[in-house]
């Protein structure tokens, strides 16, 4: 396939991966599905228990917030480099944010007296998962929460990459989208929730013995997305905006896979290639 090049390639290292979705209970447990191109046997969601948050605070968390937090902590479970959690800046990306909490507020506003819950209101900000993550991790570093529709994965990736390149500091990327609530189902065809997370580091900042993946990202003017072999995972990729990142996770899981193309974000998309080193 002939992909016209837009600008010079950017190199980045992946030091940790997190994945939570239907039948996808953490990266270590689910990388085999992406490697073998097979469906998870069951489609249940794992129990979502975010750490570092008091039981009292935890009760206030929505499912979407918990999903993002648990994917982030999964990425830190098997770090290939010694990175202190409180030293991480973060980028959170989501196409639709927390529509369950928006739906609750909108329903309250349609009632007499408009009884909006203060907890729902502060959970409704797009950066609520980021706020809770920084609370839990005690990281006072920068955090950005973005939305870019179907391009949210690539946009989040490139924002995180630009942070790593300009600061030489590691960055945690968390991309999360939930299934659509009933009132949105006609407009959003997404039945499954999924969150994935990546710890990204500067190309040069790593000791040679570190077991990290070096990737090269190239913007494309025209892109045709790499599909996943398994139908269930491919359906997820096509319906959940965060699951666009499963193509990159496929590259990371399968050493035979050399490159993937993901649509959206920069011009028409990006090609991500594994590089030796």
């Amino acid at each position: 396939m002939n992909m016209p090049e837009l600008s010079s390639a950017i190199r980045i290292r992946v030091a940790g991966v997190g994945l939570i979705g239907p039948g996808l209970h953490g990266w270590q447990n689910s990388r085999k599905y992406l490697h073998q191109g097979s469906s998870p046997e069951f489609r249940d969601m794992p129990a979502l228990i975010p750490e570092g948050i008091s039981p009292r605070e935890r009760r206030r968390l929505t499912e979407t917030i918990k999903l993002a937090l648990v994917a982030a902590q999964d990425a830190l479970l098997n770090l290939s480099l010694p990175i202190a959690i409180e030293q991480l800046s973060t980028v959170f990306a989501s196409a639709n944010g927390d529509l369950f909490v928006a739906d609750k507020i909108l329903s309250a506003l349609a009632m007499p007296g408009k009884p909006v819950s203060p907890t729902h209101f502060h959970n409704s900000v797009h950066n609520a998962p980021a706020g809770y993550w920084h609370l839990a991790s005690h990281s006072m570093h920068a955090s950005t929460s973005i939305a870019a529709g179907e391009n949210s994965f690539v946009s989040g990736l490139m924002e995180a990459v630009s942070q790593v390149i300009t600061t030489a500091e590691p960055c945690l990327l968390v991309v999360c989208d939930s299934r659509a609530p009933e009132n949105y189902r006609q407009q959003i065809n997404c039945d499954d929730s999924l969150a994935l997370a990546l710890v990204l580091c500067n190309e040069h900042s790593i000791a040679a013995e570190g077991n990290t993946e070096l990737l090269e990202i190239r913007p494309l003017k025209a892109a045709s997305a790499t599909r996943l072999v398994d139908n269930t995972l491919e359906h997820l990729r096509q319906t959940n905006p965060a699951a666009k990142g499963l193509s990159l996770l496929n590259l990371l899981a399968d050493s035979e896979c050399k490159s993937v193309v993901i649509e959206g974000g920069l011009a028409a998309g990006v090609e991500i290639r594994r590089v030796a080193g």
Binding site: A95, I105, A110, K114, A142, S162
Partner: protein, 405 residues
């Protein structure tokens, strides 16, 4: 930490515009700032029955969208379109796209609630056992204003919406700078837009943060915020010799403290301000004016003052401009950055309007209304923005920045 950043060219603000309750366009806003006039009003808005002051922009409801984009209708996109048409900004964007390829121009938009007002109307009219009827992607979705602008302007470079509550449109400057520094685009358009809606008004009301009077930042009697709406935008390009105002640096941090109250000692706020100074290679004494976040709540103003004491122990002239046009939430970052630009270009210090009797617990060197005499034209200004979730951002702007050629 920020050494790499300093190697990148300074970014000049080569065109900019703002539309707030003070008026449409830079001149209208400048006039009200110099006249020290609050433009908050008690005029009622459909669906909002609270007895509060609002920073409402005139003419939003009747603003037409271009015919090919008419189904993107929402109060937020109407405000966006209204703002685009001021100060020749639309034409400046068209000129920009002649200087740069469309896929080398980035677009970064800050908003907190996008066009959720369309969803509010649909939910209110929704019959039992039916779905609310509205176009989610083109109104409520946070990417809607970005998507609208991509179509409206023909931009094809990197684009996303930042939504970090009240720091959203300060952080778009940082994202634009990073994308240019990383070579992902060559120039950028940054836009902040947030419009009045029930969600924010009743939400802030549920947290008991709304004032029934005009907000009184840093005043001993302050009791909360007024909500406003605004659109503001700027074009950022690598600065040439004749650049008038430049983005010098930015600083970002997280409070890691609480979802809706600031760190009591202002630790996160101080960190963001210090990061901006470090990136710029400036000492605190070199900053002439600071536009405070200054919402007028008890907690914010006190925490911000503590942060100011840490970063500016010698003091620095500062003010909150929230009483002019209200707290414009996701648009406040860029609105207040452009208020700094007005101050730099016109050699004045915006006063802390409606601050009558300064809280004895607050020690910042506030520029108070009616008593101000200019001592030195400001050359370097800072703007603070802090949001829910402990999201802090600080921008540094400089007049006639020296550019190495």
């Amino acid at each position: 930490m920020s050494q790499t950043n300093r190697l990148t060219p300074l970014l000049a603000l080569t065109a900019y515009t703002m539309t707030t309750a003070m008026g449409a366009g830079m001149q209208a806003n400048k006039k009200q700032l110099l006249a020290e006039r609050s433009c908050l009003s008690k005029e009622k808005l459909a669906g909002i029955e609270l007895d509060v002051w609002l920073g409402r922009v005139a003419g939003v409801e009747t603003q037409q969208l271009p015919q090919n984009l008419s189904d993107w209708i929402s109060r937020n996109n109407q405000l966006l379109e209204l703002g685009l048409q001021q100060d020749g900004f639309l034409q400046a964007c068209q000129q920009l796209l002649k200087r740069y390829a469309a896929d080398r121009v980035g677009l970064f938009v800050g908003t907190s609630t996008s066009g959720i007002q369309a969803a509010e109307a649909a939910y209110a009219q929704c019959k039992e056992n039916a779905y609310p009827e509205f176009n989610y992607r083109r109104s409520q979705n946070l990417y809607s204003p970005s998507s609208y602008l991509r179509r409206r302007l023909g931009i094809k470079g990197p684009s996303f919406t930042i939504s970090t509550a009240c720091s959203s449109s300060a952080k778009i400057f940082a994202a634009a700078h990073r994308h240019i520094a990383a070579g992902l685009c060559d120039a950028a358009i940054v836009v902040g837009v947030d419009s009045l809606c029930q969600m924010t008004l009743y939400g802030f009301n549920s947290l008991q943060l709304l004032s029934n009077q005009r907000c009184k930042p840093a005043d001993v009697d302050r009791d909360g915020i007024n909500i406003g709406e605004a659109m503001a935008a700027a074009i950022l390009e690598p600065a040439s010799k004749d650049a008038t105002v430049c983005l010098l640096a930015y600083g970002e941090s997280s409070d890691a403290w609480h979802m809706s109250t600031p760190h009591p000692e202002g630790a996160g706020a101080a960190r963001a301000m210090q990061a901006a100074l470090t990136m710029a290679g400036l000492s605190a004494g070199e900053v002439d004016y600071i536009n405070l976040h200054g919402t007028g709540t008890q907690a914010n103003d006190l925490a911000e003052d503590r942060a100011m004491q840490q970063v500016f122990p010698q003091g620095a002239f500062c003010s909150s401009t929230k009483a002019y046009c209200g707290h414009t939430l996701g648009a406040a970052g860029i609105v207040e950055a452009l208020i700094c630009v007005l101050a730099l270009e016109n050699n004045f210090y915006p006063v802390s309007l409606n601050t009558q009797s300064v809280d004895p617990a607050i020690h910042s060197k506030l520029v108070l209304p009616g008593r101000w005499q200019i001592q030195k034209p400001p050359l370097i200004a800072m703007s603070n923005s802090f949001g829910f979730g402990g999201s802090n951002a600080c921008l540094l702007l400089q007049k006639n920045a020296r550019v190495k050629t």
